[in-house]
């Protein structure tokens, strides 16, 4: 029924209006996931270091940040950035920027917890050995603890990225035409395509997420066997 009509919109679903207009569809989903994934890793790294810090002025704000963000839904964070930040800044930001910043801020909090747990997972004897061999504490962290901790964190971060990709499907609500946003537009224009569009949506997300999930499972099995 709607499958042939769906064919007409396939390019829109994959690329948005790209060659003539802004990027959208699956390409935007992937682009935003990768960009926000990298930046939330950066936030997680800084946050995790701050949360494990012995300095109170770093530890307390980081703890508050993590606990507040993890206590509220993603859509709430998105709204804070989309409606309220522009009012504070006194000028508007685009939907894509709001989504990018919102995802970074939200997933950065969960990343912070992963980094914190990763750092705590490294044996304390390593710190003592590093310090007694004459390294500064930042050198111990940078050259001894973090390399081992990061290796342990990889599976957790891959799992977080699966959640991140899944949650990008919510940003259509503030007007971003990523895959789900493009799909809702197609469905609105051609009601007959509704069921085929959903099948396509589920299939694409299923492939993306299950590939990443099985990757993290294999990685975890390998890490468990080598350590």
């Amino acid at each position: 029924m709607g499958w042939t009509t769906l064919g007409d919109y396939l390019q829109f679903l994959m690329l948005g209006a790209y060659p003539r207009g802004p990027l959208g569809g699956l390409a935007l989903t992937i682009y935003l996931s990768v960009a926000a994934g990298l930046s939330s890793f950066g936030v997680g790294l800084l946050g995790g270091l701050a949360r494990n810090s012995s300095r109170k002025y770093l530890r307390v704000p980081a703890t508050i940040y993590v606990e507040v963000i993890r206590g509220i839904p993603f859509i709430m964070v998105l709204f804070w950035f989309y409606f309220l930040v522009p009012r504070i800044l006194q000028h508007s930001i685009t939907e894509n920027t709001a989504a990018f910043v919102g995802i970074t801020f939200f997933f950065g909090a969960y990343g912070t917890e992963i980094v914190r747990a990763g750092i705590l997972s490294v044996d304390k004897g390593q710190v003592e050995a590093g310090l007694s061999s004459g390294l500064f504490d930042w050198q111990v962290m940078l050259f001894i603890i973090l390399p081992q901790a990061l290796r342990n964190m990889i599976p957790s971060f891959v799992n977080l990225y699966v959640s991140l990709i899944k949650d990008t499907s919510l940003i259509f609500f503030i007007g971003v035409t990523e895959l789900t946003g493009a799909a809702t537009q197609v469905m609105r224009r051609e009601v007959a395509t509704t069921v085929p569009v959903f099948i396509l949506l589920f299939a694409v997300y299923l492939i993306l997420c299950s590939t990443l999930n099985s990757f993290s499972d294999r990685l975890e099995a390998r890490l468990a066997s080598t350590s």
């Binding site: 206590g71 509220i72 709430m76 747990a117 069921v195 959903f198 997420c209």
Partner: protein
């Protein structure tokens, strides 16, 4: 513009927010009940040795965990009516169809996660316990219900409780299909009164108090009960895989 909390108790705004919070709580409550019951069935099916029983359960968990929750919500609201016979549809639309679609989505999505918590809770009990229960003359059902499940329940209770908090947070996604829950009402207050900070701030505080409550319950439970089990059963294991704890649940707040 200054902060003016008076808008929160000016009619009709205050009433809207209370109404929205009550809808969120109602949605969460029914979904907690439904998803726990469904998860019990699914986890039992998954652990069956019959492939024809375990495969559908595996497929169910695989599908619902690897597709986005918002897309599932959209599907139950916009997609499912195309697959339901006309006669049923009239009856469905006569009721609160938005609420029902959100509820079905929440139950099916969360049950896939809870089923996995149950499964890992049961497999955390050493195999020797089952064997010794069986050799002391119990049958399989007795061994399960008197030896394995009571312990498994205690182990999977903390992830279960944080999963319940996740249900409350996920129920906000129902906003995209127009269910009048807390987020929807905050937006309505915002668009009528232009008081964004106050409206969203109030609902943010509501979610924060829910999660604070959850963390208190979990901390209390961990100190009171879980320490007893893990001390003798899993104490040796704990240092071995601390990162695994980070993977399974990010503490009390659950998954994003």
């Amino acid at each position: 513009m200054g902060l003016d909390p008076r808008v929160l108790w000016t009619p009709p705004y205050g009433g809207w927010l209370v109404e929205g919070i009550l809808t969120t709580l109602r949605l969460t409550g029914v979904a907690i009940l439904g998803s726990t019951l469904l998860a019990i069935v699914v986890s039992m099916m998954r652990m069956s040795t019959l492939r024809s029983v375990s495969m559908p359960a595996r497929a169910y968990v695989y599908f619902f965990r690897n597709t986005p929750f918002p897309v599932q919500v959209l599907f139950w609201y916009f997609g499912a009516p195309h697959l339901i016979p006309e006669r049923f549809l009239e009856w469905l639309y006569a009721g609160d169809f938005e609420f029902l679609a959100a509820l079905v989505a929440l139950i099916l999505y969360t049950a896939a996660y809870i089923a996995e918590h149950f499964r890992s809770g049961i497999s955390a009990i050493p195999r020797s316990q089952m064997e010794s229960a069986l050799s002391s003359g119990m049958n399989y059902i007795q061994a399960m219900s008197y030896v394995i499940l009571p312990q498994a329940f205690r182990i999977s209770l903390p992830p279960l409780i944080s999963e319940y908090l996740t249900i409350a947070k996920n129920s906000s996604v129902a906003m995209i299909i127009g269910v009048a829950e807390a987020m929807t009402m905050a937006r309505r207050v915002e668009s009528y009164s232009f008081r964004a900070f106050e409206a969203f701030g109030a609902v943010t505080l509501f979610y924060l108090s829910l999660s604070l409550l959850t963390s208190f319950v979990l901390n209390w439970y961990n100190r009171r009960y879980l320490a007893l089990i893990t001390a003798d059963e899993r104490g040796k294991k704990r240092r071995k895989r601390p990162i695994g704890q980070a993977k399974r649940g990010l503490g009390w707040a659950g998954r994003p």
